[in-house]
């Protein structure tokens, strides 16, 4: 594997905003379907702006750096701007990730979406899982999300009541 960048190492050495918010306005917890790692993100929102963010992550070095960088990037952003933050942008802010670790950045984007979705739901607004406020294809998006969650469960070796078309097998490697 390629080595991590200095920025990544800096965030591993010194992660920002670790912990939890006692009285959060939104919480998102996401499991990475590829490796089974987990990120939980807490946000505080005032006047449609994220004023604080904290994370807890069970994951590799890249996952921790992504979580840490993500909190730095979202604090101060409006909800709309935060929703536009892509995993690519987080990876770029870290000066890149090794190719096998690119999937780790998805953890950040997904946890952020989930936290914002949770916040919106509390406001009585429904944010589609795809990130669109008025998404016309909501059922498909939700089905895609369920498939992802099943893949996550599979990565953990957890048997879920999978529909016939998706075998929930643990990904045992042979090397």
């Amino acid at each position: 594997m390629e080595p991590y960048t200095e920025k990544v190492m800096d965030h591993i050495r010194n992660p920002r905003n670790v912990g939890e918010i006692d009285d959060p306005d939104g919480v998102g917890e996401i499991g990475n379907p590829i490796c089974g790692d987990v990120m939980r993100l807490y946000i505080k929102v005032e006047d449609n702006r994220i004023t604080d963010a904290k994370f807890q992550t069970f994951g590799c070095g890249a996952a921790i750096a992504v979580s840490s960088m993500l909190t730095e990037l979202v604090i101060g952003k409006t909800i709309e701007d935060a929703l536009r933050l892509s995993n690519r942008a987080v990876a770029e802010a870290l000066d890149g990730l090794p190719p096998v670790k690119m999937h780790c950045s998805a953890l950040g984007e997904d946890a952020l979406r989930a936290a914002i979705r949770d916040y919106m739901a509390k406001q009585g607004q429904q944010l589609c899982v795809c990130g669109e406020l008025d998404c016309p294809c909501r059922p498909e998006c939700e089905e895609r999300e369920r498939t992802r969650e099943r893949a996550h469960a599979a990565a953990h070796g957890i048997e879920v009541e999978a529909p016939e078309d998706s075998p929930a097998t643990a990904g045992g490697s042979t090397n």
Partner: protein, 402 residues
């Protein structure tokens, strides 16, 4: 600050005496061991001496040693060479018996053979990572050409009952191979005591250079070459000999023989101290591998609630080098196939570290690593959502069973 290197199962530093033996052959003594002139003869004599030194460490005849580019090639040679010689008769495909916890050098070769029509059985292991000889007995059939079970596992250090399995293979007229790469220099390795026909070793795990190893081939064993070429290595392995590396391997084996008993005892004592310190000072840990049938230098520990790579990176920041699973699987996203075969849940298999000590490991290093580890585990756990939930009573200590 100096680095503390606890990753000797990945590779060992070159012993200064080995380097010294190699130096002339990297420079002035440049002859080709196949040439008849004096520089050639000088190289030939050096290779012959090294062959004796390697053979002597494993109780073999020098003529039974074939130098290879390392452990991986030796494993490939053993598996592919034996299967290639099986007579394509009776319509039955050749059968290979191996274990679920082999190094990728064996597992991926077995998979390739499987794709080519060879039948392969993968023996399971118990919770300590040991193959049961009875399982080997039931897996072997009349078409079994080769049984390949490693001597000691690289990730958890569990030592396999190779002699018992070899006896069964012999009864059934199957050829027996063992990957002894991790055993060499750490436990006694004797081809006759083990009763094996083929045995793979590698220099860089015994303080020799990288890129050189050997396959022991018992006289009379039916095996095809892997690399075709010139007449080198009695036509069993083509290619101009890597003289400096072979010389280094020979010297490294000689040293390993001299130091074996003493360093094994010393490393086991230090390893046990590390193990005890971890048990006493860190909660929610599991020691993986066999309690007694284990390489003296190896300690594999599971830390609940955290992921191995983040521990590794944090230890690296504190200048302590360890590994998660085997070095080859770093960057591999799957949990260790060895721990999965031992019956671990994927989540539990994720949070493990392997500490592997070496000849130069000191008591001070053990003490330092313990202090650093206590700090790092606490730091990474403080970041873990699983640990939070556990502290708040929302989650059991053990990873939930499926």
């Amino acid at each position: 600050m100096a680095y503390i290197y606890f990753d000797h199962n990945a590779t060992t530093p070159l012993d200064p005496a080995v380097l010294e033996a190699m130096m002339p052959f990297l420079h002035e003594a440049h002859g080709n061991a196949s040439s008849f002139h004096s520089p050639g003869r000088e190289a030939r004599e050096a290779v012959d001496l090294a062959r004796k030194q390697v053979a002597s460490l494993i109780g073999a005849q020098p003529a039974e040693i074939v130098f290879t580019s390392g452990g991986t090639e030796a494993d490939n040679h053993a598996l592919r060479g034996v299967i290639a010689r099986v007579k394509a008769g009776a319509g039955q495909p050749p059968h290979l018996v191996t274990s679920a916890i082999e190094h990728p050098a064996v597992l991926n070769t077995a998979q390739m053979l499987e794709q080519q029509g060879c039948a392969v059985s993968y023996l399971p292991v118990d919770e300590y990572g040991r193959v049961r000889p009875e399982d080997a007995r039931s897996a072997i059939n009349d078409a079994t050409a080769l049984v390949s079970v490693m001597l000691a596992n690289n990730e958890v250090g569990t030592i396999q009952p190779v002699a018992a399995i070899a006896a069964i293979a012999r009864e059934r007229k199957a050829i027996m191979h063992t990957d002894a790469v991790q055993g060499l220099g750490r436990i006694p390795v004797d081809v006759d005591a083990l009763g094996v026909d083929l045995l793979s070793i590698s220099a860089h795990k015994v303080y020799g250079p990288k890129g050189i190893g050997a396959l022991y081939i018992r006289r009379g064993t039916r095996i095809a070459p892997l690399i075709y070429g010139g007449h080198q290595e009695r036509r069993r392995r083509g290619g101009t000999e890597n003289v400096p590396a072979i010389v280094g391997f020979g010297r490294a084996c000689e040293l390993a023989g001299e130091l074996l008993a003493e360093s094994a005892a010393r490393e086991a004592r230090l390893r046990d101290r590390l193990e005890q310190g971890i048990r006493e000072r860190i909660e929610h840990v599991r020691i993986n591998g066999h309690p007694s049938e284990r390489l003296p230098n190896t300690l594999n520990v599971g830390f609940t609630f955290v992921e191995g790579e983040s521990l590794l990176m944090n230890l690296d920041i504190e200048r302590v080098a360890v590994s998660t699973g085997s070095a080859c699987s770093s960057g591999d996203l799957q949990p260790s196939h060895v721990l999965l075969a031992m019956g671990f849940e994927a989540e539990a298999a994720h949070g493990t570290l392997r500490f592997s000590l070496g000849r130069r490991t000191t008591e001070e290093e053990i003490a330092t690593v313990l202090d650093v580890l206590v700090r790092v585990v606490a730091r990474v756990r403080a970041m873990s959502p699983m640990y939070r939930d556990f502290i708040k009573g929302r989650r059991p200590a053990a990873a939930s069973k499926a």
